[in-house]
């Protein structure tokens, strides 16, 4: 007789996830994107051109249209995605480099939101009373905040050298802060609700009657049970943040020129809407990334909480 093995919650979830082909496809794309971002320098060195290098010999300057020479926006083996009008920069290199900024900002902004949101949510849900009231009102304030307007104003006001940082690194940190700091109430509310329902459950009562202290209950009893919703929400928050970063770059308050970002490339492409290839590639990059994260997030939710199906 074979031994009957008990399966942990994680093992069950992993089994369900494996069966979800769409979610796995999303996961694979995400891994590839991350690898592309991490090894961007290497990839460019091997097959591409420096992202800010001008190739004005590939541009129709004599005819005055400033469009890339050749068909489909100057596509060639040398420049597989074609080149930008006006300055002839290689679009493929810029899309690859743009993934760094997008993913970096989206990941860390999500991390910040999750950290603040989880802490605030657990504290509010577990302690209740005036603490809950205070934090809940704070969340309302943050949710009612005109984020986009504030982001534009803040990014315009902060000087080039601040907080010991300057240039691109300052802008990236600033964007992470703006996007991350103002998105925590969404996750905070979910965690608070879950905590309220969990804290009255028997296993928490049991721990309490055995004399467990509050930190033990919070971190050992409650937090592991909150991992599933947090994880699901985080995967769904990342694509939102990618879009938000793109929107900010599009509006010109993101990372500064000439550093490539997907939103910034889209913004450049608007004045050349008669040359669709210029808009196609960064748009496609955003589309694929957001779709991959959303599909994976959905699959993860189904796997962790089959009732929500």
């Amino acid at each position: 007789m074979g031994k009957i093995e008990g399966r942990s919650l994680g093992q069950i979830a992993w089994m369900r996830l494996k069966r979800d082909k769409v979610a796995i496809a999303g996961f694979v794309v995400i891994v590839l994107l991350i690898l592309m971002a991490v090894f961007a320098n290497l990839i460019i060195k091997l097959i591409g051109h420096p992202p800010n290098e001008f190739n004005q010999d590939l541009i129709d300057t004599a005819g005055g249209t400033l469009a890339p020479l050749g068909k489909f926006g100057g596509m060639s083996w040398d420049h597989p995605f074609g080149v930008e009008p006006v300055n002839g920069r290689d679009i493929m290199s810029r899309v690859i480099y743009g993934s760094r900024i997008s993913l970096l900002i989206a990941f860390f902004a999500t991390l910040l939101s999750v950290a603040i949101g989880t802490t605030m949510g657990i504290v509010a849900g577990f302690f209740g009373g005036w603490v809950d009231a205070l934090i809940s009102r704070l969340m309302d304030v943050f949710l009612a905040f005109p984020l986009l307007v504030f982001a534009i104003a803040l990014a315009g006001v902060v000087p080039d050298d601040a907080f010991g940082l300057q240039g691109d690194s300052l802008r990236i940190v600033l964007l992470i802060f703006i996007i991350g700091f103002f998105n925590w109430p969404y996750i905070g509310r979910i965690v608070r609700g879950q905590t309220i329902s969990l804290r009255e459950r028997e296993f928490v009562d049991a721990a309490r009657s055995l004399g467990a202290r509050r930190p033990y209950i919070l971190f050992t009893e409650l937090l592991p049970n909150l991992i599933a919703p947090i994880l699901v929400y985080a995967t769904l928050l990342i694509p939102t943040n990618i879009l938000f970063e793109a929107a900010l770059s599009f509006l010109g308050v993101g990372v500064r020129a000439p550093t490539a970002t997907w939103g910034g490339m889209l913004s450049d492409a608007v004045t050349f809407y008669t040359m669709p290839h210029f808009m196609l590639w960064p748009g496609l990059a955003i589309f694929i990334t957001v779709l991959a994260f959303n599909l994976f997030g959905d699959g993860l939710r189904d796997a962790l909480d089959p009732r929500s199906r």
Partner: protein
């Protein structure tokens, strides 16, 4: 009648110029003759006039730059214009755009005007409300104009000297009219503390402008100014009846003195100009007033305007700035459309300030290194290429400004992509053989300036000059950032994109605001940030006082050369724009004075 004239003379420009000037100065009522002279000169190219409207230039690329396209005297019809935004103000006392000055002549008559003629002839000043050009006395400190008799406002009252005086005085009130040019208050000998006729009621202003009789107006200046006639052509001299003036609201209730008056004015939406029956052709040698009506649609999408002009649904983009980038490739690649376009040159320079207040650019050799190292063609491309961007510039003054002389102190190599050997030589002389690092400011909401900054970064990198780009909003660009001297020093803004267009085609109009160190304000706000040369200031003063036009024009180029020797300005491109020629209109030509189609002579086929 056209045929008799078409066979006369072969030199069109000479013909137009001599014929109309002589007659303008002798006879008063010769509108018919001038009309003939204009159409006759335009008619010289009329060997192959297929359209049957009496000859004119062929419908080909750049045809309207030097000749009248579709000359005709046919009256009637409606001219349809579109604007992607709206006027800064329709009030002639306040508006400060070239297209608005061009257009204002339809509903107002200034003392003088630029001659409505194609090409260079448009730089000549001709009398409009005045009977002749200004008569200077007292070394250019007093200027006298005689006003035509019989010119009437739309309500039938005659225009008198006091109406012109009132119009000029009200325009000096910059609290009521913040947008307008500020030349009159700077030059006129106004009583101390004078704040315009609304706030300084009853103050005697005869020390600035006197009106000895109803048809004579005399301007009294603080200092001699040889170019005062240029001020007399400003829309600010268009008469305003004091009884009907409503201050800041007058922009919506303008009383016309020209051939057209306002109708159906809906601010920010649309308005019409209809015939003013009080206007008398006999008092007006310059205007033809052919169409019955002008319709102007405001706040129309700029790309939509281009498409509608191409289809013929609209006649003209009234702002006259040329096609949008999206239409550029469409127009240039389609031979039929290209034949329907004019590549007008503007009296405007796109340039980059090289700030000597930011080390190591305090050393002239380091500034010269930038002049040599920059790839001039990439500057041109950043601005839209040879058609919508402009021509490669080597001087501060553009060729359209009278007195321009061509020179090139820093040849950028045979392909204009920069002379790197010379740049390295200059860097060595400067004591920075391996280059240096500095910052470059640009207006972040202007894609062309962003492209320029990126081009500088790429080009200067070749000799080791590393630029960090800093974009600032254009609204505060000069007051807070690139035009604010303490900010420039504190943030090490070595280079800053910049641009300047003349208010009128004259050395003073072009140079005074960008090379005179005395316009630099410690609190910011000036376009000039980098030119701080005492000898240039002195040269400007000497030129300003010269009342002889020919002598004065010779004084501008040495100033230009001196600035370039110091390498404090990097000239990028002399601006050009690609205009779409209206299909259904007659008498179409580009005026060098406005660098767009002249709106005074248009007719409908």
């Amino acid at each position: 009648m056209n045929s008799t004239f078409t066979t006369s003379g072969s030199d069109k420009k000479g013909c137009t110029t001599t014929m109309s000037i002589k007659r303008l100065r002798t006879v008063a009522a010769l509108s018919a003759v001038v009309a003939l002279a204009l159409s006759a000169c335009g008619g010289n190219g009329g060997d192959d006039n297929a359209n049957g409207t009496g000859g004119g230039a062929k419908n080909e690329f750049n045809a309207a730059l030097t000749e009248v396209v579709n000359p005709s005297d046919k009256k009637g019809g409606t001219v349809k214009m579109g604007h992607s935004d709206t006027w800064d103000s329709l009030d002639p006392g306040e508006t400060y755009y070239g297209y608005a000055w061009n257009f204002a002549r339809l509903y107002g008559r200034s003392l003088l005007m630029f001659k409505p003629a194609p090409g260079k002839a448009a730089n000549e000043l001709v009398p409009d409300l005045a009977e002749g050009l200004g008569v200077p006395t007292d070394g250019g400190k007093t200027w006298t104009y005689k006003i035509r008799k019989g010119v009437k406002f739309e309500d039938g009252t005659e225009v008198k000297a006091k109406d012109v005086k009132y119009a000029v005085l009200r325009s000096t009130d910059k609290e009521t009219f913040p947008n307008g040019p500020a030349y009159f208050e700077a030059f006129l000998n106004l009583p101390a503390g004078y704040k315009g006729p609304y706030k300084s009621k009853g103050v005697n202003t005869d020390s600035a402008i006197s009106t000895p009789d109803d048809y004579t107006i005399v301007f009294h200046l603080k200092n001699g100014f040889g170019g005062f006639d240029y001020l007399a052509q400003l829309a600010q001299t268009m008469p305003v009846p004091e009884a009907k003036d409503t201050g800041a609201k007058y922009r919506n209730t303008i009383v016309s003195s020209g051939p057209y008056k306002f109708a159906n004015l809906q601010p920010d939406k649309s308005f019409e100009l209809v015939r003013n029956d009080q206007w008398d052709q006999a008092t007006d040698p310059n205007r033809k007033a052919l169409p019955d009506k002008y319709e102007v649609a405001l706040k129309v999408n700029a790309d939509d305007i281009d498409n509608r002009v191409i289809s013929g649904d609209l006649d003209i983009d009234v702002s006259g700035t040329g096609v949008q980038p999206a239409s550029l490739s469409k127009v240039l690649t389609d031979p039929a459309l290209k034949a329907q376009a004019d590549n007008a040159t503007l009296a405007r320079l796109w340039y980059t300030s090289v700030n000597p207040t930011v080390p190591p650019l305090n050393n002239v050799e380091c500034r010269r290194a930038i002049q040599y190292a920059m790839d001039k063609t990439s500057y041109q491309t950043a601005y839209g290429g040879p058609f919508s961007g402009g021509d490669l510039a080597t001087t501060v003054m553009p060729p359209l400004v009278p007195g321009y002389e061509k020179f090139d102190l820093y040849p950028a190599g045979p392909d204009s992509k920069g002379d790197l050997d010379k740049a390295k030589e200059s860097l060595t002389k400067c004591g920075q053989p391996n280059g240096f690092a500095t910052n470059m400011a640009y207006r972040s909401d202007r894609p062309r300036e962003k492209a320029t900054a990126e081009a500088f970064q790429q080009a200067l990198k070749r000799v080791g000059i590393n630029l960090t780009l800093k974009g600032y909003p254009s609204g505060d660009y000069f007051s807070q950032y690139a035009g604010n001297p303490p900010f420039v020093v504190a943030n090490k803004i070595g280079l800053a994109t910049n641009g300047w267009g003349a208010d009128w085609n004259d050395g003073f109009g072009f140079l005074s605001q960008i090379v005179d160190s005395r316009v630099i304000r410690a609190t910011g706000g000036s376009s000039n940030t980098s030119v701080r040369l005492p000898d240039v200031d002195k040269m400007l003063d000497a030129a300003l006082a010269e009342t002889d036009t020919a002598k004065r024009e010779k004084l501008w180029s040495p100033i230009d050369k001196r600035v370039m020797e110091e390498a404090v300005i990097y000239p990028g491109v002399y601006a050009k724009s690609l205009l779409l020629r209206p299909k259904n209109l007659t008498n179409v030509f580009v005026s060098d004075a406005f660098n767009m189609y002249d709106y005074l002579t248009l007719g409908v086929k």
